[in-house]
Amino acid sequence: MNFFTHFGKYLLMLKGMISKPENAKVYWKEFMHQCSDIGVGSLGIVCIISLFMGAVSTVQTAYQLVSPLISKTTIAQIVRDTVILEFAPTLVCIVLAGVVGSKIASELGNMRVSEQIDALEIMGINTKTFLVMPKIAAAIVTIPLMVILAMALGIYGGRLAGEASNILSADTYDRGLMQNFMPYNVTFALIKAYTFAFIISSIPAYFGYFVQGGSLEIGRSSTKSVVVSCIMILLADYALAALLL
């Protein structure tokens, strides 16, 4: 199948998932379950990555800023803007594409191969609405929240590392954070987070939903979904930066 066939099928899947739920209560329960799986389930890795990316940013920025003419508060400003603009939305979402994307693709792929999706269809349930939509909705709700958390933890990680490595004091770091802050950066980061959340959930859902074959194909489609999601995140990252900054 060529790119256009895949893209057409992907669009039809998205169109097909927009329909009235058979029972709102069951769908709500499924949505909450997905929020827990995608959001709470990825919280640990997001926290660890965020703390360390902030810490490493501080150490590496300090290593490069050797001129005595540049104030140490600049380190905090650079860490803040890098974390908000790039690390928190993009790096976290690329990691989540692996964690969440492979989970979505393999879950749906397994359901397809073991005829569970057919069983739902026979019951008269719109499987695209029931299986795909709650996943996308849950990702769009929880991933931007995790990106906000990643921003906070990244900046805090930088502060901890600055103090621990005697690069700059907590006071200097805090002062740096307050200087030249542009609130639009947070808005931009959130626009990125929403876009990436949609990519992370819908592309693996497509690969999982339409898998054909057995367990080998589930593994392949899971890997493919992560690769395609990562490439799409990077493309969207560039496009958004070019358009909105």
């Binding site: 269809e121 026979i122 019951m123």
Partner: protein, 267 residues
């Protein structure tokens, strides 16, 4: 009653169904038999709408399924129960949750009423006490029975079973066959079974459709099979010497020349 006329289906150049027509009767166990690749599963999937036939018409009790909108099909499907070859139970749910799922989706009954219905069908399939077990904790035969319980929990008018005996030992197969037969008569439903199992064919075959290469080759019931002179059918059903002997014994029994214990009757 489900009637289908001139069903044709092809995948690429390969013709899988080539103008199959038949009537599946209500209150009877309707069997679709044939060798692997004869088109049984594709036919069943066309009947439930998982595949769209290229040509032909499917009629559910006078209503044309082929002409129905997606919404009308969704409503009809709430009257269809299906047992899949691999049972297709939801892995993440317990036995009770699996059976309760259609009730949660399509009824507004209270939890206690739903639970009562779940226990009723569990009792009907002899699985009392298995409520909290996960599909991974139960045997193949039990999975099939949970699949049947889930299929009948909404009191369907049509029951489809795809290879209900595959992977089961002969004794468990008989239990499943007996259960399907009893449910068909008890609830007066139209049951359609795809099978390879010769025991099922002989025991519960009220209305049999034998397919060869996507075409209808023979129809009849389990008694007709004994006296059929269709060469392909005989080769398929009575493939082994043991089964050929069984056929001869059944013929002699039917003609009154042998008693039920296998002794020749001297007249």
């Amino acid at each position: 009653m489900i009637e289908f006329k001139n069903i044709k289906k092809r995948f690429g150049d390969k013709v899988v169904l080539d103008g199959v027509s038949h009537v599946m009767e209500t209150g009877k166990t309707n069997l679709i038999i044939g060798t692997s690749g004869s088109g049984k599963t594709v036919l069943q999937k066309c009947l439930v709408g998982l595949f769209e036939p290229d040509e032909g018409e499917i009629i559910y009790d006078g209503r044309s399924f082929t002409d129905m909108s997606q919404e009308e099909r969704k409503l009809l499907r709430q009257q269809i129960g299906m047992l899949f070859q691999g049972s297709a139970l939801f892995d993440s749910m317990t036995v009770e949750e699996n059976i309760q799922f259609p009730l949660n989706m399509f009824t507004n009954d209270s939890n206690s009423k739903k639970l009562q219905r779940v226990n009723e069908v569990l009792e009907r399939v002899n699985l009392v006490g298995s409520n909290k077990k996960k599909p991974s904790e139960i045997s193949g035969g039990m999975k099939k029975r949970v699949g049947i319980a889930r299929a009948i929990v909404l009191n369907p008018k049509y029951l489809f079973c795809d290879e209900p005996n595959s992977g089961l030992d002969p004794k468990t197969s008989m239990v499943i066959d007996k259960l399907i037969k009893e449910l068909t008569t008890e609830y007066n439903i139209t049951t359609i079974i795809n099978t390879h199992d010769m025991n099922s064919v002989m025991e519960i075959g009220d209305n049999i459709l034998y397919m060869v290469n996507g075409k209808k080759e023979w129809t009849g019931n389990s008694k007709d099979i004994i006296f059929s002179d269709n060469k392909q059918l005989n080769e398929f059903i009575f493939a082994s010497e043991f089964l050929q002997d069984a056929k001869t014994m059944r013929m002699l029994e039917a003609q009154g020349k042998m008693d039920g214990n296998g002794n020749m009757v001297n007249k």
